[in-house]
Symmetry: C2
Amino acid sequence: MTDPSKPTESLALALVQHAMTEDPDANRQASLDGIAEAAARGAELVLLPELHAGEYFCKTQDPDRFALAEPIDGPTRRALSAAAAEHGVVVVGSIFEARAPGLAHNTALVLDTDGRLAGIYRKMHIPDDPGYNEKFYFTPGDLGFEPIDTSVGRLGVLVCWDQWYPEAARLMALAGAELLLYPTAIGHDPNDPADEQARQLDAWRTVQRGHAVANGLPVAACNRVGREPDRSGSGFDAEFWGHSFIAGPQGEILAEAGTEAEVLIARIDRRRTATVRRIWPFLRDRRIDAYGDLVKRFRR
Amino acid sequence: MTDPSKPTESLALALVQHAMTEDPDANRQASLDGIAEAAARGAELVLLPELHAGEYFCKTQDPDRFALAEPIDGPTRRALSAAAAEHGVVVVGSIFEARAPGLAHNTALVLDTDGRLAGIYRKMHIPDDPGYNEKFYFTPGDLGFEPIDTSVGRLGVLVCWDQWYPEAARLMALAGAELLLYPTAIGHDPNDPADEQARQLDAWRTVQRGHAVANGLPVAACNRVGREPDRSGSGFDAEFWGHSFIAGPQGEILAEAGTEAEVLIARIDRRRTATVRRIWPFLRDRRIDAYGDLVKRFRR
């Protein structure tokens, strides 16, 4: 277990990239097996994919799917707490949060090394696109962009669609986040040609590496993998592209997965952020006097 | 010449990447030759490097260097206006602007196809680092982040250090900019090892490609090239890394230069921004209710 009063000079971060099935017990076991493997390989912090308890259910609008939601203090939290405490690692998980009847969120949970819930983050930016009907299921988060303190550091936990928003990354950095972590569930439209699929994958990686550069901190995204069959009449199977990655504070790729299940580990040099920010001190020169219009929908 | 009432479906954009010497006439001629070549090859819009009239003079703090500044309506403006009108192209240039005694800016000039000054942009973010003593020379811009309308479209012109700031790119996009253009002067520290040099170059490219992705619009950066000898006791020569590039609205590289002088041209598909923004409508989902702290220096 890490002593918070003596942060190590490096941090071993693991991403558990795996596939999901219709069986929640099997999914939970895959996550727990991944945490165990990560810990055995020396990880101190473990990041899981978005909504790892089940298949991605937002392909269509189906009121019955709200039965999949669980409270913060539900079976996923308990399983992750037990795993975090057993292995002495910090775990970042993700649930479909039942907050009240008719009110649900897409919520990340952070469990500290003693199993305690260190904090939660409710996904702020909610997509709504063909095959990704998230605005039907998830009320946008109401907790803002606040990092979560743990015994391995101050974590800037965001979720999936947030990854496209420089504002979210910046607000986490300005609040002292030491790294950005994105549980995610993103895939190809199987009808798209290969060149479009390639552009989308690289755009996803590039914008997040850009957050690392702009803020001088490491960034990691953990995606799911696999083809999830059409069960609700959406008309197509979902193909999740994997490619979970860990980037350093210059956006450099430290480790990257393929399209299969994998426990990906990289060791982050904690001193590197300070060094990089001395070379390129972007925070010094922000024109906060001229950024007011960022809270406008559009400027025309 | 382009008829502004009938925007073409594509736009041919040229970057004139070249080296600078101590001789301002030779530098100006290199820029003008590049504009002529670009126009002959079909370009409608031509972007020059930052401060293309001379060697990069900010390596040290030298009051005598203010003699290099010129008013907006100075020799560079006149030369670029003549070239724009002669070739019927829009030109984006860059000057050391003498505004008043003891008050200077780093200013981009945009000349329309009739030679008229369509607008100016004064560099908002000013660096100040070893070899780049820009805060000594340039007062931060006071015109904000406002795109400039031209007969080839609404241009989001920014300058060099601005390229690291997602806020600048976003504000231009929110004001309707159709593409982002960065004149720049950036190079390696010759004392850095090759792996650090490679990370810096890729960080520079990545953060700007990230702006393209986050905002769904094309981005281009035009850098200078060459080694400029130490003339003022900075202790090292400057090595500008070139690698000017044009990226599409998914951050995909459309064209990229090497480390030699080159006129780089790519044809931008104007319809692509609308298509891309329909696939990934990031502007739709911004949490403007939660971005207020972006105008803070730090949140702790």
